[in-house]
């Protein structure tokens, strides 16, 4: 963590809000997210589909849909990104900050060879790079993500690659320009389980070797175990709990987090039914008053229905629940 040397964290998001629509019917998908990532740190962001975890990170890089309004502050190495010109953002994206998307099957241009796509990624941020040098570097990158026969693979098209291989290519393209921060948006969701493990290994290996800051967005807590340093749990557009991965699993403070952990299937337990959190996540326009989670919360009290909880706990482990301390006790 060399941010201590400069005092500036690699990536700092403060009170990020993303909303859609015009003033009266405005719907907030992200309702004030704050988080930091330091050099070489892996932050996991967990939440259900539609909780705002992906759109929040996209918006942080200026990749939100045109209909969205973004407010708050996103700083990358101390530089404010919200409101930055398209040109400036473009220079940053793909070079200093890279992104990996969920579906490797559709994230590659179907009519360009793999080699052409990787060299494009390289040359976009380096005009002087010759075609030959770029191809050499592309081959090196494919080797880096453990794709066999990289020289032959370069002249092939995406449809000649399997899902896992395509995600490797996406990773190779993402790290092509030696970024400082990598945002992986559900990198393994579209892949089957055995391939998931391989891709996570490739990612973890690269993260360590290149000392990347990595934001791992997922809905699967299991993916984060063993890979993330810290975890932020997102519910209904807000972070409800943030802690180191060990603390989170050992002592989850927010009832939602505990629900998520309990939902991981346990092969040793002799249970007929799998655990699931009751109810559905709230629709954007109909957020409950008070704590957004209270209609589904097993510990819901009167106060939860009226007052939105503030963060409790310390810098290392905080949770937005009125009963965070109580909850810490038992699981």
């Amino acid at each position: 963590m060399n941010h201590t040397e400069t005092g500036v964290p690699l990536f700092e998001v403060k009170d990020l809000r993303v909303s859609f629509g015009r003033s009266e019917t405005q719907l907030e998908a992200v309702r004030g997210i704050s988080l930091t990532v330091n050099n070489g740190e892996v932050l996991g962001i967990v939440g259900e589909s539609g909780s705002g975890k992906s759109i929040g990170m996209l918006a942080a890089l200026g990749l939100q849909p045109e209909t969205a309004t973004v407010s708050g502050s996103v700083r990358f190495k101390g530089k404010e990104l919200v409101g930055l010109s398209r040109r400036e953002l473009r220079k940053l994206r793909g070079s200093r900050v890279a992104m990996i998307f969920q579906d490797p099957l559709s994230s590659l241009n179907p009519v360009m060879t793999i080699g052409a796509q990787i060299t494009e990624a390289l040359q976009l941020h380096n005009d002087q790079l010759s075609n030959k040098a770029a191809l050499e570097r592309a081959e090196e990158l494919l080797k880096l993500v453990a794709i066999p026969q990289p020289d032959r693979r370069l002249s092939q098209y995406p449809h000649e690659f399997s899902g896992g291989m395509r995600q490797r290519v996406m990773i190779a393209m993402a790290v092509a320009n030696d970024p400082d921060l990598l945002i992986a948006d559900e990198p393994t969701t579209a892949l089957d389980v055995t391939v998931q493990a391989q891709i996570m290994e490739v990612l973890a290996d690269l993260q360590e070797r290149l000392n990347l800051g990595l934001i791992l967005i997922t809905h699967d807590l299991g993916v984060l175990a063993g890979h993330a340093d810290r975890v932020a749990v997102v519910y209904a557009g807000q972070i409800v709990e943030q802690a180191s991965i060990d603390d989170l699993f050992a002592a989850p403070s927010h009832p939602y987090t505990r629900g998520l952990i309990a939902s991981i299937p346990d092969m040793t337990a002799d249970r007929e039914r799998l655990f699931s959190i009751e109810g559905m996540p709230p629709a954007l326009g109909r957020l409950p008053v008070g704590c957004a989670f209270h209609p589904r919360c097993p510990m819901c009290q009167e106060v939860c229905r009226t007052t939105a909880p503030l963060f409790r706990g310390n810098q290392k482990h905080e949770a937005a629940c009125h009963f965070a301390e109580l909850a810490e006790g038992g699981r």
């Binding site: 994206r93 793909g94 992104m99 998307f101 559709s106 241009n109």
Partner: protein, 276 residues
Amino acid sequence: MALLPRPKGPRWLSLPLGIGLMVVVFWLLATLLAPQMTSYDPMDMVARRLQPPSWQHFLGTDALGRDVFTRTLYGARHSLPIAVIVVCLSLTVGAFLGAISGFLGGVADNAIMRLVDITLSFPPMLLAMAVAAGLGPGLGNAAIAMVIVWWPVYARLMRAQVLEVREREHVEAAVAAGASRPRILLKHILPLCWTPVLISATMDLGQVILLAASLSFIGLGATPPTPEWGSMISEGAAQFYSWWVAFGPGAAILTIVLGFNFIGDALHDHFDPRSK
């Protein structure tokens, strides 16, 4: 892989495609080699007027004693190039404006699409007639009129394609990789948009030949004595009892339109198997 036995021979070579190709190749040859395919000159009065078909004159002679078969062959020299030029120009203009429209959206999109709506709200024949009449007779002017009528079709198609492709994830990935907007349009969107536009252009070749002939028929395209199919039919219409005068150019138009449609259909089936 195939679970059902396939018919023998290459799958793309179906009967209609074969016929279409043969017809179109025949007319292409006529365009290039008309002087070698007949011993008469299209402008010469070579025999007595209104002779029925015979071994000397396969399709008889017209009201001025010119050989109809010869004139029909030479007619391809006017119709085919005009059709190709009109479709190419319309395609260029239409695809360019359509791509801009779909990619930029907003004001540009609105302006272009309203222009398209206005153009398409006229019956194509009527608008082409009006423009051609305004410009004066002549095949060149007729071609300009037809481009004005035809480009909106491609603009719409192209816009629809761009709108669909721009939402695909690889485009988002290219944005996230820091590609500029012109680059994204040219390298990541347009290459995936051409197929339906080109298929439609193939089919339109026949339609444009038909429209050009129609304009000539009413005297707004080629002027006599040019051996153009439309104006030849118009001459034939005056000689109602000498059916062969209009038969030659009529059959020419019929076969070539059919030929282009067969080819277009085959391309369509080949590239878009879902719509079979």
